[in-house]
C-alpha cells in the first residue's frame, strides 16, 4: 500500500524493551477495594444506580450514561458497594470526582449478561451500537470518547475506511503491541464488527514498523479477510494521532475543526476493537484493560490486564514495587500522558500506561531564553508556529495565539521535547486551550442569561398588556350606556 509522508514529528527513544517481551498478566490479586469514577470518559458523567451497602455481581451496571455523549460503568467483580463519594480523580488537578467504591467478595460471580449477538454481520448496525453503548466502551487509546457515538458517524457521513490504530507511537507503552500479538483474532473480529456498524467497506490496520511480531500476528489473523489490509507505517512520533495516521494512509489532511470522518475515515484503537468483540460475542461489558506498568523506578515492569478501579499503588506493588521515589508518576505515555496526583488513584478506561519515571528519565531542566532557532516550527506535525504562539500566550494575548492557530494544536509535545532551551511550549498551549475553552463556556452562559432575561422581559410586558386591556374592557363595560 502506498503511504504518504506526514509533516514534522520526532524520534524519541522507544524505551519499550522493558515490557515488549512480557506477556499480559491477568492474575492480579484482587485489590481490597476498587474505585470506579462515574466519569472515565469524555462527555457527561454517568449517574450512579447503586447505594452503599448494595451487593452487586460482576458485570452489573453501576452507573448509567446520561445524555447523548456519556458511557456506562459496570462492576469489574462481585462484591459490596462500600461508598459512593467524592474521591480524588486520576487527573492532574487532583480534584475530587464522584466515585463508586466496591469491596470485592472474592466470589467473582457473574451477573446475567446480555445474550451474544449470534451473527453480528447480519445484525442491524443499530443493535451493535446499542450493545457497545451498553458495554460502556470508550476509546481505549487514551482519548476515552464513547465508542458507540463514534460508531454512529456512519449514519450521517459516507465512510470508506475503518482505520484501526495500532501505531502505539508513545515511548514505553506496549499494551497495544501485546494485545495484537496475543489476541489478534479478537482484534480482527472486533474490527470487522465495527466496520459493519459503520458501513465502511475497507479496514486498514496501521502498525508502526518497530513492532514486527505484532505485524506478523495481525497479518496472519487477517489473511482470511480480503477487506482487511495490515500496513506497516514508519516509526515517527506522533504517528498514532488519528489525524496524522489518516494522512499517512490516505494522503489527505484533516481540515481544522473537522473530523477524520469528514474524509471518510474513522479511527479506532486496537484495544477498543477487542472490547467490542467481547461485548458483541459474549455480552461482556468493559471491566478491565491492559496497562503497561513501566519506567525506571518500577522494579519489574509488566503488562497487566487490570480490573478497572484498581488503585495505581496496588498495580505498582504487583510489579515488584518501586526501586526509588519516582520524579514523575504518569498516566499514559511520557509524551502526552498526564501526571497523577498520587498513587492512590484508580486505573480507569483510558489508562494505557502507568509510568514511574526517575529524575534522569523525566529530564527536567531550567528554562532558558528562546534563541529563535525555529526547530519547533520545523517539527510541528500540525504545521503551526509554536514559537509565535508561546510568545503571544506569555503576554496574555490569547486572541493573538488563537489567530496563530493554537486551537489546532494536538498537544503532542514534540515542540517541548525538541526545544534546545527547554521551554515548556506544550504547557503554554494546554493552558491557552483551556483558558479559551473556559472563556467560550462563559460566553455561552452569558448569551443564555441574556436570552432568559429578554424572554422574561417580553413575558412581563405581555402580562402588563393583557392587564391593561382587561382593565380597559372592564371600564368600558361598567361605563353606563349612553
Amino acid at each position: 500500500m502506498k503511504l504518504f509522508p506526514i509533516r514534522g514529528g520526532i524520534h524519541p527513544a522507544y524505551r519499550k524493551q522493558a515490557t515488549a517481551e512480557k506477556a499480559i498478566v491477568a492474575l492480579l490479586p484482587l485489590p481490597a477495594r476498587l474505585y470506579l469514577p462515574l466519569q472515565q470518559h469524555m462527555g457527561a458523567a454517568a449517574e450512579a444506580l447503586v447505594q452503599p451497602g448494595d451487593r452487586v455481581k460482576k458485570g452489573q451496571l453501576l452507573g448509567r450514561g446520561v445524555g447523548p455523549v456519556s458511557a456506562a460503568v459496570h462492576a469489574p467483580t462481585s462484591g459490596r458497594i462500600a461508598q459512593v463519594a467524592e474521591l480524588t480523580a486520576p487527573h492532574p488537578s487532583g480534584l475530587p470526582q464522584l466515585t463508586i467504591v466496591l469491596e470485592p467478595d472474592g466470589q467473582d460471580e457473574w451477573a446475567e449478561l446480555a445474550p451474544p449477538i449470534a451473527d453480528p454481520f447480519a445484525a442491524d448496525p443499530k443493535a451493535i451500537k446499542e450493545r457497545v453503548a451498553q458495554a460502556g466502551i470508550v476509546g481505549m487509546g487514551g482519548a476515552t470518547f464513547p465508542s458507540s457515538v463514534k460508531l454512529d458517524l456512519g449514519t450521517r457521513l459516507k465512510l470508506e475506511i475503518l482505520l484501526l490504530n495500532g501505531a502505539e507511537c508513545e515511548p514505553y507503552l506496549t499494551c497495544d503491541d501485546r494485545v495484537m500479538r496475543e489476541h489478534p483474532s479478537e482484534v480482527i473480529d472486533g474490527a470487522r464488527i465495527m466496520a459493519h456498524a459503520l458501513g465502511a467497506p475497507r479496514i486498514v490496520i496501521a502498525i508502526e514498523r518497530n513492532k514486527p511480531q505484532a505485524l506478523d500476528a495481525m497479518r496472519l489473523a487477517a489473511s482470511a479477510f480480503p477487506a482487511i489490509e495490515v500496513v506497516d507505517v514508519p516509526v515517527q512520533y506522533p504517528m498514532g494521532s488519528e489525524r496524522h495516521l489518516t494522512q499517512a494512509i490516505t494522503g489527505q489532511e484533516t481540515p481544522a475543526r473537522k473530523l477524520t470522518a469528514d474524509l471518510g475515515v474513522v479511527v479506532h484503537n486496537v484495544a477498543t476493537a477487542r472490547a467490542v468483540h467481547h461485548a458483541v460475542r459474549f455480552g461482556r461489558p468493559l471491566l478491565s484493560r491492559v496497562v503497561t506498568v513501566s519506567g525506571g523506578a518500577v522494579k519489574e515492569p509488566k503488562n497487566v490486564e487490570a480490573p478497572l478501579g484498581t488503585p495505581v499503588a496496588d498495580l505498582i506493588d504487583f510489579c515488584g514495587g518501586l526501586s526509588e521515589t519516582p520524579k514523575r508518576l504518569v498516566s499514559g505515555g511520557p509524551m502526552m500522558g498526564q501526571p497523577l496526583p498520587s498513587s492512590e488513584v484508580p486505573v480507569v478506561k483510558g489508562t494505557s500506561g502507568i509510568l514511574a519515571l526517575t529524575t534522569a528519565e523525566a529530564n527536567e531542566r531550567p528554562t532558558q531564553p528562546c534563541i529563535r532557532c525555529g526547530t519547533c516550527v520545523t517539527i510541528c506535525p500540525c504545521g503551526l508556529v509554536p514559537v509565535e504562539m508561546a510568545a503571544h500566550i506569555r503576554k496574555d494575548d490569547l486572541d493573538g495565539a488563537a489567530a496563530w492557530g493554537v486551537m489546532d494544536c494536538v498537544s503532542c509535545g514534540s515542540c517541548s521535547y525538541i526545544c534546545p532551551s527547554y521551554i515548556p511550549l506544550v504547557h503554554y498551549f494546554n493552558y491557552a486551550k483551556g483558558r479559551i475553552t473556559a472563556q467560550d463556556r462563559e460566553r455561552r452562559k452569558q448569551d443564555e442569561v441574556k436570552r432568559l432575561a429578554e424572554a422574561r422581559a417580553a413575558r412581563l410586558e405581555k402580562q402588563a398588556q393583557a392587564k391593561r386591556e382587561a382593565a380597559a374592557r372592564k371600564a368600558q363595560a361598567e361605563s353606563p350606556a349612553p
Partner: protein, 180 residues
C-alpha cells in the same frame, strides 16, 4: 485677491450646505457607542450597577458618567473590554476577582414567599406559594438580587467550584525564574 476670497467663500458655502443637509438626512438615532457598550455588558438587567438595566448603564458609560468597573457580574473581563472600547486606562490591579457565584436555597429555611421568584431576572428560581423554592444553577448568573430580598436568609451565594471537567492547566511560571 478678490478671486481667492471669492473662491474660498464659495467653497465654504457649498460645503456648509452639504454638511447641513447631511446632518439632517443622514442623522443617526441615539449614540452608536451606547449600543456597542451594551453588547459588551451581560444583558441580564440585574441592576447591581445602580442603573435600571444594562441599556441605561451603557448610556451612562457613553457619557462618561459611570466608571468602567461598574458591572459586578461582568468582573474584570468586562471592565477590561469596556476600557478598551472607551479608550480609557483603568487600574485593575486592586480589583479583587471573586469569581462566579450562584445562589443556593437552604430548603429548611425557605418559607415559600415567592419574593425571590419575582426578583429573579433570568427565571432561575422555581417554586410555588408556601412550597420550597430551588435555584436552577445553570440559569443563575449570581446577581444577588434574591440573596438580598430573602426574608429568612435562606439564600446563600456559593462560589462555583472548579471541577475535573472545567479545570485547565495554569500558565507556566515566568521563564528564566529558575535560573537565578
Amino acid at each position: 485677491m478678490l478671486l481667492a476670497v471669492g473662491s474660498v467663500a464659495v467653497m465654504g458655502v457649498t460645503l456648509g450646505v452639504l454638511l447641513g443637509a447631511a446632518a439632517r438626512y443622514l442623522a443617526v438615532e441615539g449614540n452608536p457607542l451606547e449600543a456597542e457598550l451594551q453588547s459588551l455588558l451581560p444583558g441580564s438587567q440585574c441592576g447591581q450597577c445602580g442603573f435600571v438595566g444594562c441599556a441605561q448603564a451603557a448610556a451612562a458609560l457613553a457619557k462618561g458618567e459611570a466608571p468602567v468597573t461598574l458591572c459586578p457580574p461582568g468582573g474584570k473581563a468586562v471592565a477590561e473590554k469596556l476600557a478598551a472600547k472607551l479608550g480609557v486606562t483603568v487600574d485593575l490591579s486592586e480589583h479583587e476577582e471573586k469569581g462566579p457565584h450562584t445562589a443556593f436555597i437552604n430548603e429548611a429555611l425557605c418559607i415559600g414567599c415567592l419574593r425571590c421568584i419575582q426578583e429573579c431576572s433570568t427565571d432561575a428560581i422555581v417554586g410555588a406559594n408556601k412550597q420550597m423554592h430551588t435555584v436552577i444553577s445553570e440559569a443563575c448568573h449570581g446577581c444577588e438580587k434574591c440573596f438580598k430580598i430573602c426574608p429568612t436568609e435562606a439564600i446563600v451565594m456559593r462560589p462555583v467550584l472548579v471541577s475535573v471537567g472545567t479545570w485547565h492547566w495554569q500558565k507556566p511560571m515566568p521563564e528564566h525564574a529558575t535560573q537565578h
